[in-house]
Each structure stands twice: as structure tokens, then as C-alpha cells.
Subunit: 317 residues, 4 copies
């Protein structure tokens, strides 16, 4: 069945859209834990088979999602807690027992506030590669120091190059053992904005179509393991409209007042409804995004939380 897929960068949301339909997904394992103290909900989705990948619209691999509802508030102690949890997961996904050379890539456009997450994270990292290369581990007073380097590749409108071209070049030249890629994501729902961190060992896979890995920033394209850390900071404008329409349709089915109204619309299936909406919305909307008005403060705070998580993970041997 070629069912209609709604675009989301979050595996968690892809999973949920199945649950809504009460569909079981073979080849996909899900585990949920909740930390009472920090109120952080951790969902681990493991896509184990190509079949599972096909169903989910995401490559085989591990997707860890931290839902931290208070992450958009300015509470330092809380953010430190989230940094620690992030650092724990990173240490599980990257083998840091031996000295590693790690390239951190800050994707996105530093001049567009919700897209500046990646560049901002990189700006707060502890960069060590050049020091270790010149002076060894002595300045750090530790036996093992990971070689951390970083790059902010910019976006195609600024560079004229695919982000992948730049990263491939840098990887080719500096030969890191692993890459960590930070990116601002698009969520399916406004209620997840700036409250969720997704960590995955599958890298970045735009379009997320199965069998289309080559344009992605992943092990296949770079030749080294790629850990991606993403936070949804925007929702596509079309998604917002879609959500409201769905609420309308649901309301039509439920409310008495709207019953005769909903009748006809209700006969459309999800794909048909989405198609209908696409026809109705302004073509401009496809190039637009929705984001909260205080996105500057939120991105500043969360990028700091992620930097700290990475610093914690990489500074311990």
C-alpha cells in the first residue's frame, strides 16, 4: 500500500501516526522510560529491518527522543539535567573508550533564528583537535583526550555548494572517526517545538525516503558513523493548516451542530483531505515556516544545553 506520508523529521511522530491508525509495525522496536525527577520522557525507536524502515519512512537505526516539556523555560538546573541525559545517550551511541577524532557539524543558517541551532551549538563546544595535535594530551592533564573539531558549513544560498559536498571534503581531508551533526528540525506539531531532542545513529536523511540515503549526511555518504542531534524549532506552514483542517473534520464527526457539515468531508480519506488542502492553500506557503515569537531566547538556551551535553560526553575518557 502506498499510504500517504506526512512530513516529519521525528521518528517519534512517524510512530505516532501509525498508532493513531492502530497499525502494528513489524521490524520496529519501541521502548519508553520516564524519569520522575527531571520529567524527561525517553522513547527509543529501533528500526531493525528494511521492512520496518519502509513502513516508518526512515532508515534502519536507533532513534532516541527526549521529551523535556520545560526545556523552553529558563531554568539552569533543569537544562543541566537534560545535558546529562543527552551525554549518557551519546556515550552509548559512540564508542569513546579509546581516543577518537570527532567532527561536530553545525548545520543550518546562522542568520535565520530558528535555523541557527546548529551553528550556535558549535559556538559553545570545547574544541581540542588543534591543541592535541600540537601539544599532545599534557595541557589537559588526562591520558586520553578526544580530538574534537567542528565546522559550520552554511547553507546553499550562501555557499553555492551542497552542505554534503563541504562536509565530505572536510572529512576526506581531516579523517575523523565519527561525525556528530546538529540540526534544527521541522516538527509535525507545534506542541513539540523546542521541547524535544532526537538523537539517532542514522545521520540526516532529507526526504527520509528509504533507499535514498546518498543525499543524506550519513555513514553511506561520509564513510564514517554519523550521529545526528536534532531539535524541532519550526513547523511547516502547510502542516499548521493541515492540523486545523483535521481538527475541523474531527469536530464535524463529533459535534451535533456540525454533523451535516462533516458528512461529505468525512468521506475523504487522509490523503485525499491533504490533497484537498494543498489545492486550497497559497502556493507561497510551501516556502514558509511557523515558529514562536520568542524563538531567539529558546534557541540560545537549547543550543547551550546541547553543547554542554556534547562537552560532557567528549571530555570524559
Amino acid at each position: 500500500m502506498d499510504r500517504f506520508k506526512i512530513r516529519t523529521d521525528l521518528a517519534l511522530e512517524a510512530k505516532e501516526s501509525f498508532e493513531e491508525d492502530n497499525v502494528e509495525i513489524r521490524g520496529v522496536k519501541i521502548e519508553e522510560t520516564f524519569d520522575e525527577e527531571s520529567e524527561v520522557q525517553t522513547t527509543t525507536v529501533v528500526i531493525e529491518t528494511e521492512n520496518g524502515a519502509k513502513s516508518m519512512g526512515k532508515p534502519v537505526g536507533t532513534y532516541i527522543t527526549l521529551e523535556a516539556p520545560s526545556m523552553d523555560f529558563p531554568d539552569d538546573a533543569y537544562h543541566e539535567e537534560v545535558s546529562k541525559i543527552l551525554s549518557t545517550h551519546l556515550k552509548k551511541l559512540i564508542d569513546l573508550k579509546e581516543e577518537k577524532s570527532i567532527l561536530v557539524v553545525g548545520l543550518g543558517n546562522r542568520d535565520v533564528t530558528p535555523d541557527a541551532l546548529g551553528p550556535d551549538v558549535v559556538g559553545n563546544l570545547m574544541i581540542t583537535r588543534h591543541v592535541v595535535k600540537e601539544y599532545g594530551t599534557i595541557p589537559f592533564g588526562q591520558d586520553t583526550i578526544h580530538l574534537v573539531s567542528s565546522i559550520i558549513p552554511g547553507v546553499m544560498a550562501q555557499t553555492g555548494m551542497e552542505t554534503l559536498e563541504i562536509i565530505k571534503g572536510v572529512v576526506h581531508e581531516t579523517k575523523p572517526d565519527v561525525a556528530i551533526v546538529i540540526d534544527a528540525l521541522a516538527a509535525r506539531s507545534t506542541k513539540r517545538l523546542n521541547r524535544t531532542i532526537q538523537i539517532t545513529d542514522t545521520g540526516i536523511n532529507p526526504g527520509s525516503g528509504v533507499g535514498n540515503h546518498r543525499n543524506g549526511i550519513n555513514k553511506e555518504s561520509l564513510g564514517i558513523p554519523v550521529i545526528a542531534i536534532g531539535v524541532p524549532t519550526v513547523v511547516d506552514a502547510a502542516t499548521i493548516v493541515n492540523d486545523t483542517m483535521e481538527n475541523l473534520i474531527t469536530a464535524m464527526d463529533e459535534s451535533d451542530r456540525m454533523k451535516n457539515l462533516g458528512g461529505a468531508l468525512g468521506t475523504l480519506n487522509t490523503a485525499e483531505k491533504y490533497e484537498l488542502i494543498r489545492e486550497l492553500i497559497s502556493p507561497h506557503l510551501n516556502t514558509m515556516f511557523v515558529t514562536p515569537k520568542d524563538i531567539d531566547e529558546t534557541v540560545k538556551r537549547i543550543s547551550f544545553t546541547i553543547s554542554e551535553g556534547i562537552n560532557m560526553a567528549l571530555s570524559q575518557s
Copy 2:
């Protein structure tokens, strides 16, 4: 009648919403001109009476709107043309025959891309007040030099103060003859984004309700004439949803396929439909905005165009 008002910062759009309904507005005079060469459409709306103000939801005064459809393209010559037109209108609204002291205020949040228009404009202005105060007009080789000063007051979340408090303080201390206030606006329609400049002698009037001038940045609150220059760079998220719904309703009325669907919805009037939508959309949406993905380049370009227009107007005696 307390008719339902859809929020827009543009007098042009307020006017259009009346035309849709074929309502005549007493006390409002409209004039339109089109420049073949630059393809700039200029609409001047003069609200002459309190009655007209009440109907339009905007204070008595002159509203000039330049619609420059190519303004979001990177064409230097075109932008210079728009700067010239802007400068001509400014010279009509401000009496610059004698030496004037002019405070230019860059409203908005420099850290949120579409809101950085005001701060960006101020960053490209020719500031002269301190030079004239110290050395007179000699360094400029002209007899009359206007004293141009500027301030970027920031936003309340950053300063803890109302923008008006800061501007009032600066006006009280430096006693300019006139203020020019630059701001990013919210449009009613995505197709107007980054293509329209509104110039008005009524200042900034948030909420735009008649009889509510005191919270505005205007002659009443500052004690000096206030010219406002605004460019719509965002659309409210709720507006986007509303637009699609209206398209849906229109389509329902027109299309055969949708006829029986539209019947019921069609019986609602505009206000009822808007209320219905409000109920359906996520409460988060009220704190969100919609903006194009390339907003960084657009704001950079347009802010430069406006700076140049102001520089032209104020540097000629």
C-alpha cells in the same frame, strides 16, 4: 454594528476588506497611481474623520503604500528606484525646508530575523547630530544639515521596559523635531510579504483600535510628529489557517464536487467562521508567526533600500 475586524497593520488591507464586502467608507479618501517603469503601485489612503477612523480601525491620517512586487529580488537598480520613491514621500510628510532634528527609531528584535528590519535600517543610516553639534555644518560643505540621531530600543523581553518608555525618555532628553519609526509589520496575506512599504504620519498604533492612541508611538504620546515606515515580514499563524478556510469555503460554493459539502459552512458569516477556526486551532498558534525561509536575505536587502530612502530624503536641504 460591531463588525468583526481581522488584524492587519496595513491600511491598504483594511481598505480591501471593505471593498470585498462592497461597503463604502465615509471620511476615507483613496488615490492610486502606477509607475509603469518601476512597476510600483502607490496607494494613498487618507482617513479624514473620526468616523472614517472608526470604520478602518486606524487613526486619522495619511497612509501611503508602495507595492513593489520585485522588492524581494536582488536587483540593485530596482531597489534604488524604490529608495527614491520612498524619499519623495518622506519629503512630503516631513517639512525639511529648515534644519530639523530627526530621531530615527529602529523597532523590533534584532535577534529574530523577520523582526530585525528596524534595527537593520538604523545600522545603515547616515548619523549627523553629534558631528553638527560639535563642528557645525562645515564638515558637510552644505548650509543646512539635518541633525539625524537614532536609537534601537530593543524589545520588552530584553529590556524589561515598554519601548514607548525608552523612546519617550530619549525624546524628552534630546528634543528632536520629528521621529521616524521603522518596524516590521504583520500582513494579512502572504502575497504581500516583503513587497510592500507603508509610510504613515500616524506613527505606530498597536491594536490599531480607535481611541487607544496612548499606548502607541505617535504624536499624542511623544509630543512630536511621528512618521512610521513599515514592511510586512510576517503573517500571524492564525491568519494562514483562516485564509485556507476561506479558500475552502469559496471552493465549496463554486465547485460542483464540493457543493453539498459547503452548504452548511456557507451559512456562517465571516465572524462566525473566524470564531469557529479559533476554536479549532492550537492555542500555541497565537504566539507564532509565519515567514519565508529566505527571510534573512530579504530583510537585509529591504532594510538597505529603506535606509537609502531615508538617507536621500534627509541629506538634501
Copy 3:
């Protein structure tokens, strides 16, 4: 005697220049403490009389200097220690037992790296005034919340206005009880750069001449107590040259090889030597400053340390 005065923004350095000459200063009390653990040296200079002020070239008041030699290193724990010490001193200089309204002013040019300290500090503050004004102290869960507001006035080349004019206007309009003013300073010696914090209750007094308080940002000009926090981030270019010359002269007096060389130069007194140097250096130098190549990282770190110190002091009742 109208002895020659070398320009420094640090009371500590003014004091030292006396000590070099073995001159006692009446009306000036000095106290030094050293914290073994943090290795922070605290020097408190209290100028008690107008006579003392005249000798020191600085107004009557208290000058606390923290010398934290490791402050230009990236050690978070160390910086937190310095924040705590700063916060303790602020609480001594400002009476915070009752609810106070406090305006924090970030002086300097955000576009010139070593001068961006003030703006950067303000960017990390917890701003509360607008929240308390709208919702009271309930959102904070405390009985007493100080009303913190802030402003980044910019520099005269950008605004066309004296910084003092802008601050006076804002104070006039918002009526804070006390102002805290943050500024990047010029040091007398490169070894003090980015390692010293000066806290004083005398505000900012450019030129620092006695009897010239009116151009300063202080109690006399603003009508409220003004606490100034400063960090030397630059040295005047002329000072650098002067230092080398002095080393030359000292070397001439001491070294055998240079003895016959120094004879003549050695007969000049300090003022004559400085005058000689002034004649020799390029006139351009007066508009130039000297700063370390890694000033971006240092200013970022220290501004964060100061923000934290202020946040600590003002968030406790």
C-alpha cells in the same frame, strides 16, 4: 606640583603609580585580601576626601578590584567562583534588603569586539521588571523580587547622541532606584587585561578629572546611585609604546652595556619622557587601541561571568 598623570581607568593602577614613587596619599585607605582557594586578590581603595580624590585623579568613593589571573582561561568552576565574589561585593554596595528597581546599562560598541563587554553582559541578564509589573511576584515564587531592566545605549557614532543623554532619558522615564553600568576599560598595563574586575560606587567618569563629574554617568548626572563594573580589555596604543620606553630607560640604568647610552635619557623625568614619546609616535596612534588576538573568546567568557554575578546578587532577596 602639577605632576604628570598617566591615563588609566583602574584606581588600582593609579594607586600603584604612587607606590612606585613612594608617595603617601592622604585621604585614601587601602585594604588587600587574598583568597587562597580561588587565587583572587581583592584590593579595596576608599578615597575619603576631596584631597585624596585630587591626588588619585578619581572621585571620592569605593573602588574594589578583583584580580583573577586565570579569568582569561576557559574554566567554568573558576568563573563561577569569581561570579560569587562579584555578587558579594555588589550586595555590599547596593542595599537590596527591600525591593529595588535596578537599571543595568551595557555601555560600549557591540560591533567592536573588546568594546562589546557591556552589551554582552546585558544579553545574559535575567530581566524581571516587565513581568513583575504585569503579574507581581507570583511567577517567581518569592515575596521580594527586584525589578531588573536593561538598556544597551550604543555609541555616539551610531546614535548621534551622548550615551548620557540616552541613559538620563530612560532614568527620567522609568525611575529606577539604582543603576549598574558595565563598561570595557582601558588598562595601563597589558598584564592586567581581561584578568581584573573593578567595581565602584562612583559610576563612570571619563577623563576622571576631579571636579568634572557632570559629563560622567554618576549620581550627580543621573540623580540615583550608580555602580560601575569594568573590565580592562584594551590598552591605549600610546601606553604600549610608553611601557617599552620605560623598560628601555630602566635597562639603561641597570645594564652595563647600556650605561653610557642611558646617561642622557636618564636625566629626563617621567613627564618629560612621556612628552618626548608623544612627539615621536605617529599621530594616528591616539585613535588606536591594543588588544589580544583571542579577545572574542575572552570577552564572551568574562561577560558571562559578570552576568552571573549580577544575576546572583539581584535574584536573592
Copy 4:
């Protein structure tokens, strides 16, 4: 003879230091022109032989220096004139008759004002590579469009990588025909700051030692021709001190009053004097630079002038 070499990035200044000593340089051709209207002095230094290269301390190649004394003033028309002259020279150094793929590299640290020249230039370029790759030359309405791409590699303290590693990687991956590299330079003299543009086909050669091309960003390291455009925006702090000392020594030789003073110092040769100064100046000075206080405005203006010059050169077929 292993004569003492004073560090400068400008071939013009290397040349002048010879002229001072009345030394002729074999293998070096010099041509000077002066444009009356724009008051731009153009000096072309062609180093033709390895012998010439050894004498000059710079690799074989062409060095064009534009001296535009008014370039640090805000005069748009003047800057346009300079852009045109720059564009003419670029078109002589790069064969643009056929479609070329050109990578522009903005060297330097965007967070340190005088070092932000390279990144700022790149920010104003017309980037075309991605458009041509996707849509061909049709969107431009021209038969031949050069493919312009750009990268801002950052500095080692931020990336942990050598700048050369990043550029090599990008060149390896995207295979441009030629690179244009923009950098802020260190001048020998403050009077040249922000008034001089050097264009050379030898790339960037740090240390400028002959036979040490491999660490440079040049044809040898990248495998493609490298045009470098540089503007001196800083002077090394040590240079400033040196200059004053030299003035002192000259004054000693000339003035009667100083005659007996100069005697001994005057017996030292240049290298010995420089060595003496090195011993006397603070070790901190080696990591410091000198720059004008209004460097933010100057860099903004000049970077725009250079962008325009590059845009002009590359947009014409």
C-alpha cells in the same frame, strides 16, 4: 647576507624597506600609476625570479597595490570607483573569457572586528553555482555565467582544523577552476591601515618565507590558481613600538638636544635595534594587535567595496 626582515603582508612595504636602504633588487620589476580623478595610486610589483623572491621575502608573482587614501571615509561614489579598479585588475589576473568555476574564501575570524573582513566580503557576494547547476544559465539571461561558490572556513581556535585543511577538502570535492581568497592583513605602518588593497596571484603565504609554500593557500597547496585580496586592518603591537623607537633613533641623530643621547644607540644596526626592542617589550605584546577605534565602520565599508569589485568582475562574461 642574512639581513633582518621586518614582518609585513604587503609587497609594497617590503619594497619600500629596500628603497630606504637604497638597495637595488634584481629580478623585481616595479610600475607605478596614479589616477588623478580617483586619487588611487596603483603599484605593481612583479617578482620574476627566485632571487627576487628571496630578496623580497615573498614568492614569485604579481602584487598589485591600490592605495586609496579616502577609502576609510563613507563616500559611496568613491567606493564604487575603487570597486571598478579592483574589478579591472581581477579580470587581468583571472582568465574569465570562458565559463569558470570560482571558489571565494573569506578567511579570518568573524567575531574579531578587524579580522572579519573576509567573512564580511563573502556575505555580500552574488553566489551562482547552485543556481547554474540546477537551472543552467537561463535564469540569468546570459550565455556565460561563472559558477561562484564561497566558504567561510573560520579560524583554528573555533574549528580545531587548519584553514588549509578545510579549503583543500572543499576544493577536492567541488573542483573549482580558481580560488579567490580574502584576508585581513597586518601592515607595517599605521598610515596604510584601511586605505590599501593588495591583489596578488601568489595566494596567501604566512611567514612569507621563500621555499615554504606548502603551508600557504596557493597553487602549490590547492592545485589551482589562487588570487588573494588583502586589506591591512591591523598592525602588530610590536611594530608600533618598533616604529617609535626608530623615530627616537632618527630624532637622536638629527636633533641637537638629543645628540649626545643618540650616540650610543646610533651605533646599533637595524637588526640589533629590533632585537633590543624585542627584549624590552612585554612578552604579551606578541599576541596583540593594534587597530583603530572605528574599525567596525571601516571594515563594513571596505568589505562592501571589495564584494562589489568581485561581483563586477565575475558577473560580466
